[in-house]
Structure formats: structure tokens, C-alpha cells
Amino acid sequence: MIKEYAHIAIVALILLTLPLWLNFTTATDILVFGLYAMAFNVALGFAGILSFGHAAFFGVGAYAAGLALRYFGASVWTAIFWAVLCASLVALLMGALCVKKRGVYFALLIAAFAQMFYFLALSPLRFITGGEDGLKGIEVLKLKFPVHADLGHPAALFGFIFCILIVCILVMHRFVHSPLGSLMKGLEENEPRLRACGYNTNAVKIWAFAVSGLFSGVAGALYTVNLGYVPLDSLYWLNSGTPLVMTLLGGMHTFFGPLLGAGIFIFFQDNVSVYTARWEFFVGALVVILILIFPGGILGTVKEKIAQADEGDRQGIWFWLKKLS
């Protein structure tokens, strides 16, 4: 266990140094999307559930937080609480409704429902949500507890989001290594067998999905805090593809893979687009190459290499990494 916490600490340290060699705004974006991707991966990599509708949870979380901030003058913590509540409820409901469908049918059905949320925010509810404009009018945020901070300042914002991210990582980690987490793993590896052992696989699916939705909602709330604004696009179903690509880049069967993938994706999006508007080509090509050569994603491949390193290869970098980890 201590080894696992050491890993988390190392990751936390690396994240803290991000602003040094990138900048605060990009680093904060990476934290938010990293959380989103990791939440997504709880469903995909750990429970084997593919969904194209995570934008619903992210978006509902973002709007819940935004509405609380805008109309009820809530504090940031209250806003995040509402985001968690709403997003997990939505995920629970949608999971329960669609649980009997398999594979790609499930994924598309979730996407259809997600798109209906988008439509709700766009049209009937637009007097509350701002419609296509997104939710504006959120004041510059201030943190009152546990410290006083002006969240308009990039460093303070980064620090706040970093702390929330670490808490979420710890909770997700506990969840994934809990008994329910083991059941999820069984679900991913061999569902019929799990059912044969007497477990209610549908319940496991719904719980896994709800947890995934919960943390996606937190990511959405953080997105709102980061921007001071809620874009309608946060609910658009195609944007569910973003955490998918990030997870793929980093490695979907690893815990931190999606976080790494988020870093790479945002880096590409921000930096490559300075040189060429064709950054999507590079990301797409990277996805293709990764699937063909390194299907485990970057982190997954690294882990594989470490696992394979044997005593005889004392010169190899993987051997020494294995010794360290």
C-alpha cells in the first residue's frame, strides 16, 4: 500500500512542477481534464464500460456549479457539492436505465441521452442556462475556507484545483482497490464468469458508472471555476471523445495513464496550434500510431516494459526503473 501512496506522491510532485515548465493556465487545464479522463477511465479501463455520453456528467456538473454560483451566490465548495450530487444522480439514473444493453449499443444510447441534456440546456431551459451563449455573469471567485484566496489569480486557482484533484485521486484510488473495485475488474475481464459466481453484474455496472459520473461532475465543476463561465459545449456528446483520446494516449489499463494523456493532449492543443492550425492531424496520427504499436498507451507500455525487465539485463533502463518502483 505504501508503494501505491508513494506513487501518488510522486505524481503530485510532478504536477506541482508543471507551471514551471509550462505555465499556470495550461497546467490548470491539464489538472481539470486529467481528472475528467481519470474519471472516464474508471468506467472504461477498470470496469470495461465504454460510454460516449460522459459529456452529460461533465456538463451537468459544470452547469450545477455554475448555476449555484450565479443564481445563489454560493461558495465554491457548495458549488462543487451540488455538482457532485447532480452528476452522480444523472449517472446513476442513466446507468440504471441502459444497463441491460451491451457494448456499443450502451455507448450510443448514453450518447443519445447526453445529447438530450444538451438540447435541454440549449432550448427549453435557456432562460436559466443562457442557451447557446453559455452561462455568463459569474463573478470573480473568492475562496474563504480554509484560506482566503482570490481565485482570479492564476497561481491560487492552480493551487485550489490541485488540492481538489489530489483528494479525488486518493478517493478514486481507494475505490478502485476496494472490494467493489475488484468486482469491476472481474466485470472487465470476464463478465459471464462473474455472473456465474453469483454476483449481480448489473449492480456493479451501475455503481461503477455512477462513480465515474461523480468524478466527471467534479471535473465539470472545476472547469466552471477555472473559466468563470459555463460553455454549452460542455454538454455536447462529441466532446465525450476528448477524455477517450486522452485515456488512450496515456494508457487505459493504468491508473495515471489518463492524466498523462491529458497532459499530452492539452500540450498538443496549445503548443502545436501555435505553429500550425493542423494540430488535429498530429493528435489523430498519434492515436493511430499508438494503437498500432503501443496499444497500452504510453504509461501502459512503460509498465509492460518494467514488468518484463529481468535480472539479466542489468544495463537496461527498465530494470532500474523496476528496482525503483
Binding site: 444493453k101 456499443v104 445529447q115 492515436v287 493511430v288
Partner: protein
């Protein structure tokens, strides 16, 4: 819709409710024909997608991109050769060939992993990358493709105005679908294709090169998408992102019809086409979302789609 305080002072002409005017029957009929033409493009795309899924269990996210490539190909061939019809034929062939190459070089290596997610994600990567490649060669502005001579304008059939090109698209699509059905049902190769869809292992055990069959099936699916793009080119705007919107609607049509079922794709394409046409007539603002609603209802009530096979669920 009575209008109270915001309309105070604004004269009645603007204030009055828009009349739910009686829609003449010839308009309704025209709408139905238009729905059929809309459906035709859906049918081409959805049947291709269905076929690929049936054969490979892969949802081809890059389907919209091949649709787009078909449109660009017809633009290019039309430009260099000056003939729209030859352009369409060559476009279909060229893109189908590209599809075959893609399948052999990029998708085939993934089959042995046994994980159905990887090919799907690979097509996703292609869908991201390929439009940018097109932008590199053709730039950002849309490419002009005109209606071919002889099919410009409309026919006047009594009180009906029927666009000639739309009629052509309907006729072409149903001819192609009929030929495809004949091919699958009556020819040897078609039989092998159908067998591969049902039981790959058995076909392999009988000494037939399954890889080649899959490549052929994939190419046919792509050819259908390219044909859809080529015939849609004069009707819509030919630009690199044209595949994005259509792929969404295409998924809906395929899923409603049942992944893996060609007949389902045809029926579903027509139904969805008509649904969109009539929603546009009566409640334009909902034309976009109504298809998601239909998909959700169908999937909840009959999860395998209208004609999908039970085993595929």
C-alpha cells in the same frame, strides 16, 4: 401565443400569432418525396456502416470521413475530366481502394488482439486526422460541385415540383441496394460474405481466406459511403468537416435499423428521412434532436434495432 407586456405598443401586425395555416396536400407530398431523397443518402451510409459492423464487429467512426473523401474525389475527377458521371464512378473506386488499403495496413494487425475496442479507436483517430490532410491539399474553403447537366432544375408533375436530381438520387440508391441484395443473395462471393458475417471461424475452417473476404466487405461498405458523398456533393457544401454531422445521423439510422442488418438500414434510412422531413415542416427547431429521441426510444424498447440479430446485442 398571446403576447402581453413586452408587446405593449407594438402594432398588431407583428403581434399576431403566426397562423397555423392549412398546408396543402401537394406540399405534404413534396415533403414526402424530399424525405425519401434525404433517406436515400442515409441508406447508402447506414448500409455501409452496417455491413462493416456485421463483418468485423467494428463501428467505423471514420465513415463520415470516407463520405467526405467521396465528395472531394468527385470534385477532383469532375474538375480534371469534365464529366460528372465518370467522376462519380472513379470517386467510388478510388475511395474504395483507399478503404481497402486502410483495412489491410491499419485494421488487420489489430484483429489478433481480440479487443474490439482497438479497431474502433483507430477509426476514431482516422476521423481526427484525415480532415486535416484534406485541408492541407484543398485548403479551408468549400469546393464547388455543380449539378450535372440534364439533372438541373425540377420536373413539374401536376401541382408538384420534383427536383430532378433528388429523383435521380432516390432511383440510384434503390438500384444500388437492389444490386447489392442480388449480389449477396445470389452470387457465390455474396454467400461467402454472408457466411463470414455469421461464423468467421467456420468459413476459415473451410479453407477460404477470411482476411480477403473481410477486406472486400470493408471496401464495399466504404464504397457505399463514398457513393453517398459523391451524390451528395452537388446538394451540400463540400468542405473538410462535412462528414462530422452526417456521421452522427448515420449512427442513429444504423442503430435504429439494427447493426449488421442491410434491410434494417434501408427501412430505417427511409423512416428517419421522413421523420426529419416532417419535423422540419411542423417544428423546425426540433429537427435536430428528434432523431436522438427516436434512437433512444427504439433502443429502449427494442434494443437490437428493428432488424438486428439477437446475438449482436
Amino acid at each position: 401565443m398571446a403576447c402581453s407586456w413586452p408587446c405593449a405598443g407594438v402594432p398588431s401586425v407583428v403581434n399576431s400569432e403566426s397562423k397555423m395555416f392549412h398546408i396543402p396536400p401537394n406540399i405534404l407530398l413534396m415533403q414526402a418525396i424530399i424525405g425519401l431523397a434525404l433517406g436515400a443518402v442515409f441508406v447508402l451510409l447506414a448500409s455501409g456502416l452496417s455491413m462493416i459492423y456485421g463483418l468485423m464487429d467494428v463501428v467505423n467512426f471514420a465513415h463520415g470521413v470516407f463520405f467526405m473523401l467521396g465528395a472531394y474525389a468527385v470534385y477532383q475527377f469532375n474538375l480534371t475530366l469534365g464529366n460528372f458521371w465518370v467522376g462519380v464512378a472513379l470517386a467510388v473506386l478510388a475511395v474504395a481502394l483507399l478503404g481497402a488499403l486502410t483495412e489491410i495496413s491499419l485494421l488487420r494487425p489489430l484483429y489478433k488482439t481480440g479487443n474490439l475496442l482497438y479497431p474502433l479507436l483507430l477509426t476514431f483517430g482516422l476521423a481526427l486526422a484525415l480532415p486535416d490532410v484534406v485541408k492541407m491539399f484543398y485548403g479551408l474553403m468549400p469546393m464547388p460541385v455543380n449539378y450535372p447537366e440534364g439533372l438541373q432544375g425540377s420536373l413539374l408533375v401536376g401541382p408538384l415540383i420534383v427536383p430532378k436530381y433528388r429523383l435521380f438520387v432516390i432511383v440510384l440508391t434503390f438500384s444500388v441496394m437492389f444490386s447489392l441484395w442480388l449480389f449477396l443473395k445470389k452470387s457465390n462471393l455474396g454467400m461467402i460474405l454472408r457466411a463470414t458475417t455469421t461464423d468467421k471461424g467456420m468459413v476459415d475452417a473451410m479453407g477460404i481466406n477470411v482476411n480477403r473476404v473481410v477486406t472486400l466487405g470493408f471496401s464495399i461498405g466504404i464504397a457505399l459511403a463514398a457513393l453517398g458523398g459523391a451524390v451528395a456533393a452537388p446538394m451540400v457544401s463540400v468542405e473538410p468537416n462535412m462528414g462530422v454531422n452526417i456521421v452522427l445521423q448515420c449512427f442513429v439510422v444504423t442503430v435504429v435499423g439494427g447493426l449488421g442488418s442491410l434491410g434494417g438500414a434501408v427501412v430505417s434510412g427511409v423512416i428517419i428521412g421522413e421523420v426529419v422531413a416532417f419535423t422540419s415542416l411542423f417544428a423546425g427547431g426540433y429537427a435536430d434532436v428528434v432523431i436522438y429521441f427516436v434512437m433512444a426510444v427504439i433502443l429502449l424498447v427494442r434494443p437490437r434495432g428493428l432488424f438486428g440479430e439477437l446475438s449482436r446485442e
